[in-house]
Symmetry: D2
């Protein structure tokens, strides 16, 4: 059992609780230390309420990094689940203390800090995992495996979307909405940083194809908002394939509608996050086949990320848990000086994080240049 | 019973047979005359095989226009179902002969001829119907009625797509594919003219909102093809709403995937042509409701376009037949010098046709200008 | 073009209009004569409103049978679309006049009259078609072809259901509801005769398997109703397979929910009337495949019953039209003294009608005997 | 954090791992002791592999009950996850030792032992939870709440089914299949005990209605099998409603297809385990509404059982975890001598277990009497 520390994720935070449940599910991590809030008293009280030993419910993360690094039984990794602008300084501090990092996305709020963090990760040689959690779903890994095995032939068209409606109105007083709507804490993107980055990573993860350039149109459809809430991007891939990306937080009726469709020369794939156990695979000239997690005809990539038999639905927490399972394997292997299970290397890392920030930058730049085709430069 | 003439739609043509079935379904039209092929013998033989009187199975459409105009029992309208480049000359000839026209889309292959045809229609004061048939579906009319009644609030986002896969490979020898892939007969667009125009009209029909400008990316993904087979467009509407349009004929696994999603300030709508009887309507903060043709809670617009009770599926032919039913009402009213039933005026007409060609032009222009935002100028 | 006569189907009747549209769709039938109402004036007025020649808009069906039989251009077939209790006398009269019959279901209201009608059909050697219209759907024919080709292996389990909700309340004044709720006109079954017979025929049509015995539970769930409105049947097939049948007209939220699932030793099939273009086929140990009308991988049985390409939805009228197309072929072949296209013999006939009435009788008998297993004796 | 012991669930067992993950998810239970196998060495080795202290990885459950009862830090409850025939003796032993029980279903293999266990539970006054886990799903609880609030009106029809295909062939050597196919260990039912009991409980849980009598048809469709693999039951409820239940383990293509449909006088409900986050609710005369876990319009019953926002799918483990969360509340309240949160009392208990065994008995009896209507006598 590995020891997990956490920075951020205090009372009322959504993603902190998700990380804790996901880490717990497979029995490979135990939450051992944390600095959960910028208010020291709140942080300590919340930590003890989670069952931490009082001395490991820290008042601040700088103290936590120092103290944990000094303990023989110090944490094996820290989960960074704060607002975006703190990802970089916290990650740097823990890496400097020799502690591997599991960081939420987007990596940082600007490309300079993302690259600097990348340098630090490289120098530290420590594992760094970025929780683009949707890549933990078994059927997303199946999609990637089918693509990698050439079953789709040459890539032609990608349609990806991520639609939500929770910001269809201003939400005064909502903590989640507040920092996400503040460019100083969230970075230059609203829906762009929060969800379009997930969609972009999903495309990159499944297809492996690089986006050569993009043309973007950002919109703020709710008056008074300081960041975008609707993102439209057209993409040209290396090799000539084309794509569209849509991300919106004002799409009334959408819950968490991340959906990917990939069309190759020989076959297509379709996956929707709200029915994550299914993957539609259609070879040209044949009827569509509905692949199901745990069912027949799957690769070992999917099977290895599966906990339950077919028809016993796995969901968001299981997909997220897979990233933690991969992190456990990567960090365990690092500790033991051995090569990790290659499948654990499917977990997103620092390079994905830098590319995500470069994607945000390119979208902002293209939008500012009236949709001019713009390169992504990680 | 009105008398219908037809130009085009001979042996092996897809859309001619559809027009004939659609015209027949409601018992308001009887096919009476036609010139079905550019080869006179083929044309005559095909006409008599359809049960036409021999003297009304014409060898060419110029003769047909002349002869029918001269008969006391001449046709009440002509259906023009030829390749695109002939829409204008044939329509002009029949209008000049005083015969109303039911024309397939796109209206013409260039904006000049479209505008000229528009002038001729205006001058003739004759009914002119354009078979953007998808606007005949009851639930598309329900969507329009909901939008028009303000149930969605201000428009924010439109996502429309039309995906097929029948051109995922070159189809040597396929008549349908051949002329559609020849710019001289199809016009400058491939998927653009053939299906993106349907998607564009659907957006216009349902929302009533004007597209202020668009940014387009055309692609030819099958080597050797002379026209586009994949269309990506981003749209800015008057009033600030944003949209994406995707049309493809290489989307492996897609059959006839025309799908529209509209997001307003207060509610959203979702409709898919492959399940045309259903319409998903979601008010903000409420569960989605599945409206069904023939079922409870519908407007008279939808009800008036309905033939069967709920659960007895209506399909493509019924939607197409509605355009013919509307045409019968418009032409009957014209003959009788009375105002038509206002619902019949939902049938697309010459203005829709000109705007469709202007859309094609704008897309081609934007694509040629590297995606520059371009106005649609009908 | 064949000449169709019609008995029943006057103002306000649902199924008469369906028969007329279905007969018209493929251009093989023209409505030529009819007796549409028990009131002679209504009948004549309605007939002329449909465009019939006045002398062929009859005041009563006995006169119509006599007069049409006497004409050189008499009708080629009569469609009997009256309430159930009149099916037998009208069919007998037209058969006696040498006129083929297209009769609605159930064949008659009791087994004695059904068998007598069967004898008369046999003796007359005239075509007799029963409009169990759901067997006209292409994908139902595909299901039958897959079963017949042994693709499912030995039959194991059948689950069939037909759920509606239009009788969830008493409907005073509704003509459709009125006669269906009157045992003198509808026969002993309510939902049993009206829709359970369709479900039963569908099972027989697709599987070809005989029901050895059944155990039934009828219920009248709306107080004051004189016939059943909910039907539960368990079935044992010859060969050992088992089945359940449910039919209900009080299933709130159901529109026209006829659904069939068949499980064999090696594969299964699933079809739903409300999405008639799709058929789910799952071989054991393989992912489900979604077969689509007009799409790849279908038999000639399905293809021959198809009017439109994949993704252009066909519906209830097209399926119904297929029965009329088959009838045209059967009657045309009879007139010409040739063997009909074998596929046309898929149209249900007199034997299906007798078996359907025997099914009703067996259900009523089993229910009366507290669910005792009861044989079907056609 | 409560301490959980486990009996059964050793290497290769499916449900043991599920219980452990479910118990872990919410952070309220920690696995502390166990006797996992009938082989003492296997049991101990497996326990230590799970991280148990060696002295609490027991060789047998009798020793475990004794030792844990004697410890100050003994387990707070034992999870009994053995084959069915051991549920009774193990539960009795732990209850006798003063330890609450969380037992898998069916409760026992015969009604006598079920009632005896019931007496012991009553006498001990200890919490006893039965893991009919599907009642832990939030939308199942929403269905129950809607029914209880009278939103459906009087109950009319229930259609429930539970279809799987994993036993479509004999599975020699499969541990799960082996004991389930042995009447000495599984009890008299195959699919009947394993899955039909879940379906029956689901009906009882959601509707609250009692089944007055049932008529059953069991079948063994795979030759050589000693227990049923297909179950057909017709039900008459107190108050006059009717129902059908189907359970099968040979339904090729079915994964874990538990599906419930309830029709009341005023509305209907539809829920499918494979999409557990959704619940279809249709009031008479209104369009269906798709209720979604975490979404708008739900009761506190559903909300209280929810971990994630709408669109972040929860699945089987989360539903199962809810039973463990309820158990934690019930046992915690018992320890503290306080009344538990009433919602925790939704967890199934001993009465549900006895009724489930009575259901099995009644089905077997009815089947043996050729489908005679038979009462359930718990």
């Amino acid at each position: 059992m590995l020891r997990l520390g956490m920075v951020g994720g205090g009372p009322g935070a959504f993603i902190g609780g998700v990380h804790r449940m996901a880490a717990r599910l497979d029995g490979r991590w135990t939450l051992t230390a944390g600095a959960f809030s910028s208010d020291p008293d709140t942080s300590k009280a919340f930590g003890t309420s989670l069952g931490l030993a009082p001395e490991r419910a820290y008042g601040d993360w700088t103290g936590m990094a120092r103290a944990e690094a000094a303990r023989a039984d110090g944490i094996d990794a820290v989960a960074v689940v704060t607002p975006n602008h703190l990802h970089a300084p916290i990650s740097l501090a823990f890496l400097a203390a020799g502690i591997p990092v599991i960081c939420d996305k987007p990596l940082t709020t600007d490309l300079t800090s993302a690259r600097a963090l990348g340098d630090q990760v490289a120098q530290s040689r420590l594992p760094f995992i970025l929780t683009h959690n949707y890549s933990g779903y078994p059927m997303v890994r199946e999609a990637r495996a089918l693509m990698a095995a050439g079953r789709l032939g040459a890539l032609r068209v990608v349609q990806v979307e991520y639609a939500q409606d929770w910001l269809a109105r201003e939400l005064p007083g909502n903590r989640q909405a507040e920092w996400r709507g503040d460019p100083d804490r969230a970075g230059p993107g609203g829906a762009l940083g929060d969800i379009a980055t997930h969609a972009f990573h999903l495309v990159r993860f499944v297809t492996g194809a690089r986006v050569a350039s993009l043309s973007a149109d950002l919109a703020t459809l709710v008056a008074g908002r300081r960041v975008d809430d609707n993102v439209h991007v057209q993409m040209r891939f290396e090799g000539g394939a084309r794509g569209q990306l849509w991300a919106s937080q004002v799409a009334v009726g959408a819950a968490n509608g991340l959906r990917l469709r990939i069309y190759g020369e020989d076959a297509s794939l379709e996956w929707s996050q709200e029915e994550p156990d299914l993957l539609r695979f259609t070879p040209l000239g044949e009827p569509p086949r509905i692949l199901r997690r745990g069912g027949p005809g799957l690769s070992s990539d999917a099977t290895a990320a599966t906990r339950l038999p077919a028809g016993h639905p796995e969901g968001y927490l299981e997909g997220f848990a897979q990233i933690y399972a991969d992190a456990a394997e990567l960090i365990g292997a690092h500790q033991q000086g051995r090569a990790p299970n290659p499948l654990a290397q499917l977990a997103p890392g620092i390079a994905d994080g830098i590319e995500g920030v470069a994607f945000i930058s390119a979208v902002v730049e293209s939008h500012g240049a009236d949709g001019a085709w713009t390169r992504i430069s990680p």
